[in-house]
Symmetry: C2
Subunit: 265 residues, 2 copies
Amino acid sequence: MTTQIGILVVGNEILDGIVLDTNSHWIINQLKALNLHVKEKVTVRDEVPEIAKALRRLIADGCTLVFTTGGLGPTHDDKTLSGVAEAFGLPLELNEEALSIVTRQYRDLHERGVIETAEMTEARRKMAVLPKGAKPLDNRVGGAPGVLLDVEGAQIVCLPGVPGELMWIFDNQLLALLKQRVEGAFAEKIIYLPLRDESTLAPIIDEVMKDVPDVYIKSMVKPYGESGIRLWISARGNSQAKVEERVSRVANLLIQLCEEQLPNG
Amino acid sequence: MTTQIGILVVGNEILDGIVLDTNSHWIINQLKALNLHVKEKVTVRDEVPEIAKALRRLIADGCTLVFTTGGLGPTHDDKTLSGVAEAFGLPLELNEEALSIVTRQYRDLHERGVIETAEMTEARRKMAVLPKGAKPLDNRVGGAPGVLLDVEGAQIVCLPGVPGELMWIFDNQLLALLKQRVEGAFAEKIIYLPLRDESTLAPIIDEVMKDVPDVYIKSMVKPYGESGIRLWISARGNSQAKVEERVSRVANLLIQLCEEQLPNG
């Protein structure tokens, strides 16, 4: 069965326009390289009930793998793990493995002269308090471990919002796990057509999609009124050779039809 | 009562990482300038049931103003209006005002020599088929009108996904309407602290938030492991002078406390 994937982005800074969310875009592209595709993305504020509700909905929608980004740090507004605990009725408790990761991180930073003290303060200890049953994911960039939780037939992966930390955990702690989920084949190609009118292209796309089934063609008009249209052609299936062949065939067909039928673009 | 705002981003190209969604970030910042704040953002694929479900949920969550972006064009994958119609049990029908906008756009483009024919094709006509009761919003950049629909006590605003078109419609067709909703006061300030450790800052933030209530302080560690922390301080209220005073006071207090308590950062 295909893995249904959801992403939950947590943070007032996103919904108040201080930060542009590039984390989910990065995750999506890493997953795509594994033939894994995201079904839905939700962005909520730093509020426990909002986080919990969004998680429950993603699971109810059939997501069996959910990534959260943001809200794992030491400050008052870092509430993602409380949201996860509330969503699944789990108590929060000190996780010894997480504590040893946090302890090592601050000891290392102290030894390198980056911070003044390696003392285990309340704020630092907070990052080792996880929902019961969760497993920490090592973080060698910052202080907050990632979190992996298997619950109700789904896997929840919580990643910090700081891009460098998120990327490190994803690449070093998750890739092997995600590779086990790789399934099917995916191919895509973007072509550029020197056209000015998407509406004239619409029936040509319909015709090609009828001729070559199981291919998705999306036309993307240039963002700011320039001329030219990009066509994104993608296909999923079981055989890599076959999806690649289909995508190539469609690309050539579209280029040919546009040259024939749209002489002056 | 505060306007609860939701954003629904529609498009496979976002969830497959071809396009980074900057539209919602842009909308959020325009709304912020009107003291309006977004509660939740959802991103779904180009599928009618997904669009309909997401809309119904945003309304059920209390959103009284929902912006959708993407999916208004002439091609097969433009399904937002079908999703809106399904969400609220409305029939889709040709809207004469929308048809006159679409007709004018293609006539103008043809007169300017941009496109080959001004003929009202099926693909072009599709953009004038709106949910019953909806009002088109003029679009002078591209072919697809925006759509405004008052339904179930909420207002749905559908904008195209092409940024230049979305921005034009927002600025020229919506601003006056949105200004009527402006309420309360909002102030914010971002300060930079030359610190390396967010965990040491956490109790200081807690202390300041206790001293100055109704101020939200969010610490943002630099994205890629550089040193330095940005603090985003924001406040909402009724008096602009008061929220600005609170934000300034907190900014000064934080800078002072950090200088006193964290001599070497």
